[in-house]
Symmetry: D2
Subunit: 382 residues, 4 copies
């Protein structure tokens, strides 16, 4: 019953996120990393159809066999993918077709959830809901990218703020050296990459209670931070020069002041809001300029109860690698996390567009160091 | 009155071409050369607003100042362009906004056409209508590309054939050496690139009365034409290898036979239809394989009264260059044709999706030699 | 005897051109179009070995079977090529190996030329010598590129000028409308692309007796010629912007004046020398700015006896296309010219680094419109 | 005295490595990561001139001011770099010029080393020698790449084996969970990235005493390892497909057997030699196929005394990140290591072309996961 309610709520929330869109906004893919909203709506539905209804719900009839081809994302075991860069060329299936697909699958799922289910099946449903919640955050960030890169810069919602809770006065807390326990050991849902709770020895360190604010980041910009290679990784410096980066994503200097594209359209930058849409390179350069560093993911997790977090995904100084004893689940589900464990950095925390209850202290988010269309920010350590 | 009728008819025809589309089909741009249908609808409207209503219709209020930025194509004098590769990322203005834009401009134009107009203004209106007719052909070819590259391969119109009139028995007609007059000298509309009627001396030649058929082209394919560099220009051979070209565009070999994406979806290739969606490289290689060549644009024009033409744009062996005495009109209108006179080949004739009365014997179409999403075909000469 | 002397002289001249080089200069390929000098020396030798010694000189033993693979340029019939962009990675065969290869083949050729030879064979020898002379011009232009793009900008020869004969006072000569005969009809050597002497009807035109000077071109630059799209082809304008072109190749603005890399190193631009290292786009934009145009290749050929020419290859307004009746020779030799007849513009005249007696009024040189490492210049017509 | 001897020996060794080369081999750069040998010889010399002679040796006259521009590698503080991809275009300075540069600097250094030096200066000299030893390994690997990618596949030294010591029978040793000390704490030289000896908690693990052999790797290949995405990281799988990887670098299947380019030219693969020229992706995929994993760099260091190592650089499952308390030295020397600490994986051990005494248990080598022109291999853990 609880599961059925959860299913309904999560599925409804995806539709609510898309409510302000016009049909055309569902279709475009301005850069490779940004998927069309209609693809997210189809892909999350395809997950339930492919991994639950088709194998486990007797008598279920597939909505359309072509959809497996269109909505598979990276599950190599489930057939040929539409390669990712082509998603923005797919005018069909139309948005209304995908809405029907969602309704069709939801109706079947409601029936399926009324039947007796094994714990393994229930766990798969929960995984599907968490998967959809991950895509809800991507819906927000991809919609922001689509609208924020349109020359008309239309508002998404004139009432919705995206500057996040303001940054309170900051202090550094000291953490003693010693062995800490890292990884999930609760009884609720978690992803496989959080499992394998294990001991990590940390040296003594200090970590800031607050995120870096726009005001502080502007100090870095005005001190010439983007023009001095000494603060940057070699790869980050190339990134700055190749992309002519001079400010966080969505910032525009107009009429003598810094403006920022937000859910409400172009607005002045709010000085005390936590800086947002920052790459790992920028986060590391800012920390170097301050004579400090970013925390490791283990330092973050050990100190988390004492930190103000949840407004921004916080870049850590940890690469995304398996925990001791990590093993991939067999089959397509096993492709979920392990295959990405190279060349990415871990982010901890959560953001203002993370679905409620979708983050936790052990949650490991990860992205390539040059990406910044997520709601990413900076916390300092030393 | 005639002009007002023409205006209404031409503008209506653009809408009719788009009638079978879903909203999503208006938005996508699968490759650089293919523009989203909604862009064509906006751009042709922008032409009337920019070159007629704004300068010459007192009291006219611009629909939306941002549209100049969005719908300018290549007119460098009229402001910063949206670069062409970004057109497919523009979810806004939405299709309904563009429909309102069309109605708004059409209403103003109807009023404007009721006022007394100078011959220069009337000529500009006629140019705008011919411009829109050019985009009507592009609407057809771009829509075909968008639907034909969708994995669902939806039909555009189940009743509409696109194999063209079948090829009749062919013969070669002989043309005597001598001086021929080339270029437009009528009193109707023509483009500036057709003007400057002038003498050209042609050697004796023969030209085929019919286009090459699918059956004939299949002979070339089955004889290994795509695998033998001797038939190809060096640049064409690189094109074949880099793009792994093995057949005309839209051809698919399935279940033991050659199929072709058409307005009706995937259909068997019709042997006696004129071969279509052929690059200049392919046309030249086919001719070389036959021991013949393509006609020059002058040979084509001199012989045209005796040829069956109008089903396919026919690649000629002429590069697109100015006629003697060609001069660009001053201002933005002068950018219409002259600026493209390098690295392109001339096509003559017209196709089944060319608007009625939009072609004539002196009409000079032009494309880069590797492009083939237009309805292009082959005629032989020797 | 004459042929044997010619052979010796032409072959010696290639070595003389390379005499000022260091071993390292023979090896590098800074851009795709520039070949390493050692490759030219090997390739021209390979021509004689492949097309004469191996098929026609009984008892000849190939120098090294691997060399066919390394020194073939674009002759697809003679085996797998080393693709062109890889030429600069070939440290072996070493320069000394190639010198031995040249001596080995020259010795054999001397013997071969002492035997009785059919006219066809003799014609092939002459073709080989003309082929080597073409590569002698490329040796000069490629060496200039290699040294002129080295940060040390070393001189090639401190005594050698490359500003060409100075431009004399210019006038326009008028040519009457009528039929002119175009193409080679002498008894000496010519390339296949010059053959097929034929009638061409020309309208009345005027053509300048002199080339455009650096001083005149500087006027264009100072009038903002590189910043005003109206003078440029659309493709040329993209070329200017993508490559940030602001002056001819090898020009550098330093210490308040325009300098030019020459055979003697960096030198001030000589105002009265004919402008050099100009792309077709620049030539056409300059002519447009002057309110004139470039001559067609036919206009050039018809007027040539009255022009001062031979200092610069002169861009014409003609695309490189076959003359009426052009047919490719069978086999690899047939690949010489015809396969390049698309997307290139014709240049007429000859330059200060063209081998003596290697040009003539009917000679058709050709390059892509954006290339300018050859000694290219501008002549106006109207 | 000791330092002067070391200087002489290290400098001589670089020359010995290059002894078998022809002048041309010094010049080419077939891919971005491979530098021309002459560049290595100049760059290592520039290090001593720039960081020691110019600042600290009174009266020293710079050899040539242009060389700073040419031989700087990535030290952004020391002036504008020659960007890395252009190194292969530099025919000048010639090899003989660089040899003179080396002699000039060596003579000055011998004089300098006879003067009384502070410990900081001595440490800089030692750093310069270790820097040159790093480039000695690169000289070997770059020379192998240059010769091994030449179509003639010339031998470097017909007497020199590069299959490494054969693999002995393997076993797994068990390491207990607990705190281990990681990082350098000796009194000799080490790089800054090894400093900051610190505690790391390791879970219980087993590690193999031997490297993976060619025979074992062939089992993986023959089992279809390169064709089954399940063994690969997503990024690794893209790498396999984009580069059509089917075997380790330098392997060629010819006449029914696997051959390998070696110092002696093309030779049959030696089954019991440790597999070599493997990317991280391949190492990880092999381990996954075996149901095991790669060790972390900490596991490797903790177990190293009991392992057979030194034949191959061994990929670990650790990203290259700073040790706790790592700080960059001020100035250009500080750019040595820290700026590369993103997107690279750590390798431990050393290879048959690592200079004698240049590796140690705490040495941290690092490369991007797709690179394999180093002598890289695989060790398993579980």
């Amino acid at each position: 019953m609880q599961l059925k309610n959860n299913y309904e709520n999560v599925r409804k929330r995806s539709m609510q996120i898309c409510a302000p869109l016009k049909t055309e906004d569902y279709v475009v893919q301005p850069v490779v990393d940004v998927s069309p909203p209609k693809w997210h709506l189809g892909h999350t539905t395809w997950f339930f159809e492919t991994f639950l209804l088709k194998p486990y719900y007797p008598g279920y009839t597939e909505f359309d066999p072509d959809y497996n081809f269109v909505f598979n994302s990276y599950y190599e075991s489930v057939g040929t993918r539409v390669i990712r860069t082509d998603r923005g060329n797919l005018s069909r299936p139309a948005v209304e077709d995908i809405m029907q697909y969602r309704e069709y699958v939801d109706t079947a799922m409601q029936g399926f959830l009324d039947t007796p289910l094994s714990p393994e099946i229930k766990a798969l449903v929960v995984l599907g809901l968490n998967h959809e919640e991950q895509h809800q955050e991507l819906l927000y960030t991809d919609i922001k990218y689509i609208l924020g890169h349109n020359p008309l810069m239309p508002a998404y919602d004139k009432q919705k703020s995206d500057h996040g809770a303001l940054v309170a006065p900051a202090s550094f807390i000291e953490m003693a050296a010693g062995i800490y326990q890292i990884g999930y050991d609760g009884t609720g849902f978690c992803f496989d990459n959080e499992l394998g709770r294990h001991s990590v020895y940390l040296q003594q360190y200090e970590i800031c209670t607050q995120l870096v604010s726009n005001r502080e980041y502007l100090d870095f910009m005005e001190a010439g931070g983007y023009a001095d290679f000494r603060h940057w990784h070699a790869e980050g410096w190339d990134w700055v020069k190749n992309n002519q980066v001079k400010a966080p994503l969505y910032w525009h200097f107009a009429d003598g002041q810094w403006m920022q594209y937000t859910w409400q359209g172009l607005q002045p930058v709010v000085a005390d809001a936590p800086v947002c849409h920052i790459s790992y390179y920028e986060a590391a350069a800012y920390a170097a300029w301050k004579g400090m560093r970013l925390p490791t993911e283990f330092e973050w997790e050990a100190a988390a109860p004492a930190l103000a977090w949840g407004q921004r995904w916080e870049w850590t100084e940890s690469a995304y690698l398996p925990y001791p004893g990590f093993t991939k689940a067999p089959g397509a589900i096993g492709e979920y996390n392990g295959k990405f464990m190279v060349s990415q950095m871990v982010l901890r925390g959560g953001s203002e567009v993370t679905p409620p209850d979708h983050s936790r202290i052990t949650y490991r988010n990860f992205f390539h160091p040059g990406l910044r269309w997520q709601f990413t920010g900076i916390r300092l350590a030393r």
